[in-house]
């Protein structure tokens, strides 16, 4: 096979599209860690719950767009409850307490879904409007994946605007630096944390819904996702939104290029990239120092 220029371009594009899925998967985890310093091991489980909520809502309504609105709300609500009654009592006790709690919660969620929906997995079709391919000049490309890239970009822009440009965003940023000052100023910090945890889990649920037409739905689907999300968070720098975006796209491209030349190493390449980044920049590409200490 000749290694043509168009094949390389196509592979690069596929890598970027794949990267946007990685960004979607990673951003919720990164947000919660960056602002709350909670390492959310249930991230993959919330992603899986998102997909199952989508299956349920789609069965009732037959409408993908309804899922797109309701799934983040439902999973976000579950996240709010988790923060309020499970995670909150553990603040100030060190990194490993919420880590262990969410680790256990992941098991509870996976087994609950197994009990409710069964172990066999579910089917989730690509919405009719987004089926088929378009010719991108270098070859056919699925419309649904283009939709994902667009949606991901919109979502990240909204998130960035919220954190950087709104009053609430300012409070969130201030709170992540110095919660004590915020309290002194008479701001209810607890509600800020609650909101962030809710948004982070809502994003995980949304990613689960969006991945369902690509990867199918089953109780174990969150397993590999948790690993992918962690790799992206670590490469991008713990707690950096920009970092998560750059890392997600970078991982997508690296996977795509490795697949083209050495497909056996595609899985390994993600971890090699992570090791390399950590050697050069121990806090990740855009990480703040001292977040873990």
């Amino acid at each position: 096979m000749e290694l043509s220029f168009s094949l390389l371009v196509q592979q690069l594009f596929i890598g970027l599209a794949l990267g946007s899925i990685y960004v979607l998967i990673g951003v919720g985890l990164s947000l919660i860690f960056g602002l709350l310093t909670v390492v959310n091991f249930a991230h993959g489980a919330f992603y899986m719950v998102g997909a199952y909520v989508a299956v349920y809502i789609f069965e009732k309504t037959g409408n993908f767009w309804a899922c797109l609105v309701l799934v983040p709300l439902a999973v976000g609500a579950l996240g709010l409850a988790t923060e309020r009654w499970l995670v909150r009592p553990l603040y100030g006790r060190g990194l490993d307490y919420p880590l262990l709690l969410t680790f256990g919660l992941a098991y509870v969620l996976v087994d609950s879904v197994r009990m409710i929906f069964g172990v066999q997995g579910e089917h989730f079709s690509t919405p009719e409007l987004l089926q088929g391919t378009v010719d991108m000049g270098f070859g056919p490309f699925p419309i649904y994946r283009i939709f994902l890239v667009g949606l991901c970009a919109t979502l990240l822009l909204a998130l960035w605007l919220f954190i950087e440009k709104t009053r609430l965003g300012l409070i969130v940023r201030a709170g992540s630096r110095d919660p004590l000052v915020l309290k002194v100023l008479g701001i209810d910090v607890d509600r800020v944390w609650l909101l962030i945890f809710g948004i982070g889990t809502a994003l995980a649920g949304l990613a689960g819904l969006l991945a369902a037409p690509l990867r199918g739905v089953n109780p174990e689907m969150g397993g590999p996702v948790l690993i992918e999300a962690f790799v992206i968070t670590v490469i991008g720098g713990m707690g950096s939104l920009v970092g998560a975006i750059v890392a997600g796209l970078l991982v997508g491209v690296v996977v795509a290029m490795t697949t083209l030349f050495q497909p056996e190493l595609a899985e390994l390449s993600i971890f090699a990239l992570m090791a390399l980044v950590l050697i050069v920049r121990p806090n990740g590409l855009f990480g703040r120092e001292g977040l873990m200490s």
Binding site: Q11, I14, Q120, S125, P142, R215, G216, V225
Partner: protein, 418 residues
């Protein structure tokens, strides 16, 4: 495990046999001897290590349901001279190490007489290693070429499932002449995938196929998009997808998304029932593959009809899948052999099982003498659109049936048997 003779499990087995013999004498003499009677009434225990958690859970559940039916039928027919059978199901978590631990536990702690099961090529090899050392019969119900080779095989090893050489060979013989000879493989990078590719290539070579690429992907891949540009650029006639379970469903689904089906024919060694049931016709449309069993066989094969009816009666009207058939016939075989030998002694049952020939659920089957591979038929199927289906479990059209004879298997000599 140098001193197998002194192994507690072997000892136990011999004592039971002795006790049975004594018990028989006592009974014949009309005597009453409670302790020995208890030993005689002892159940025949079949250990079933299967992956009840993990990506092959659907296949594992199917194996279990089939096995339960076999035990139920055996007991309903009076057992082995009144001795009932009992199924001991354990979760091997699709992990060779875990499977060995469970298997040894089944043999040594639970006193299982026979082991049936496993839904992975790698897991079955470790289970076989454990049963072989302990001289316990193991009937494997999943695909593997290696298990029948002399280095792994023992007198106590039986292989109920088709093997990759047979499966891939049958699909290759059907598909390559019809769809073309320029071939690309997309293969899961583990024993199952490698053995399937070898099976396709062995048969394909004789047909003059040209292999453009054999692209390997890691097990448990969630996104195949980055594999497709290269495959599309190679312009093959046929794409052979050699993976299993959820890998298969995801790769089929994404291949369709990227329009691969419009440019080439996709074939697979096996089309998995549970995958087709969950993911629907759209994902599987136009893909051709093999299967060891499909319930639709009942239209032409009376034993399939009988098996389907019995299975449906026991499982709320659900039809048996490919792996349900394997679980059924795998356990049915060892129990029938025990009954024929009137013993649970591994050597006697091995001889009896080797002699079993018949039509139990899919037409005639028997075990080849040199390696205990089950010689059987194989079906070539494709997904059936919902509009043509008789019911929601009517998922395949049977395109062809290949009845295997030993000439299409790897020869005994090739496997290293004298």
């Amino acid at each position: 495990m140098a001193a197998d003779k002194d192994h507690p499990a072997s000892f136990q087995r011999r004592s039971i046999i002795k006790a049975m013999a004594t018990g028989g004498v006592v009974l014949a003499g009309g005597g009453v001897f409670p302790g020995i009677l208890r030993a005689q009434a002892d159940n025949i225990r079949v250990g079933l290590p299967i992956p009840l958690t993990g990506p092959f859970v659907n296949e594992a559940r199917a194996v279990q349901r089939g096995a339960e039916l076999a035990v139920k039928e055996f007991n309903a027919a009076g057992g082995m001279a009144g001795r009932m059978a009992e199924l001991l199901v354990r979760d091997d978590k699709l992990n060779p190490q875990e499977a060995v631990t469970r298997t040894i536990e089944l043999i040594e702690k639970d006193r299982a007489h026979f082991i049936v099961g496993s839904v992975s090529s790698a897991v079955q090899l470790s289970v076989n290693n454990a049963t072989k050392q302990r001289k316990v019969i193991y009937n494997s119900v999943s695909q593997s070429d290696t298990i029948n080779e002399a280095k792994d095989w023992s007198k106590y090893t039986f292989h109920e499932c088709l093997n990759p050489h047979m499966t891939a060979g049958a699909v290759a013989r059907y598909a390559f002449p019809k769809f073309g000879k320029r071939v690309v493989f997309l293969t899961a990078d583990y024993a199952y995938g490698h053995e399937m590719v070898r099976g396709f290539q062995t048969v394909g070579k004789a047909m003059g196929i040209e292999v453009l690429a054999d692209i390997r992907h890691p097990l448990g891949q969630t996104d195949f998009s980055s594999y497709f540009p290269k495959i599309l650029a190679l312009k093959p006639d046929v794409l052979v997808v050699c993976n299993f379970g959820r890998d298969q469903a995801i790769s089929f689904r994404q291949a369709a998304d990227f329009g691969l089906k419009k440019q080439m024919k996709i074939i697979a060694p096996l089309l998995i029932h549970s995958g087709r049931m969950v993911d629907g016709h759209d994902v599987y449309a136009d893909i051709i593959g093999g299967t060891g069993y499909y319930w639709g066989l009942e239209d032409t094969v009376p034993s399939a009809k009988r098996f389907n009816d019995a299975f449906r009666a026991a499982n709320g009207g659900t039809y048996p899948t490919d792996y349900a058939g394997l679980g059924y016939v795998g356990v049915r075989g060892v129990l029938a052999a025990a009954k024929a030998a009137n013993s649970t002694d591994s050597d006697k049952v091995s001889d009896a099982l080797r002699a079993i020939k018949g039509d139990f659920y899919k037409g005639p089957t028997y075990y080849r003498a040199c390696d205990h591979q089950s010689v059987q038929s194989m079906l070539i199927v494709e997904s059936k659109p919902a509009a043509q289906a008789k019911n929601k479990e009517d998922i395949f059209n049977i395109l062809a049936i290949e009845n295997f004879d030993e000439s299409k298997l790897r020869s005994c000599k090739e496997l290293g048997h004298a």
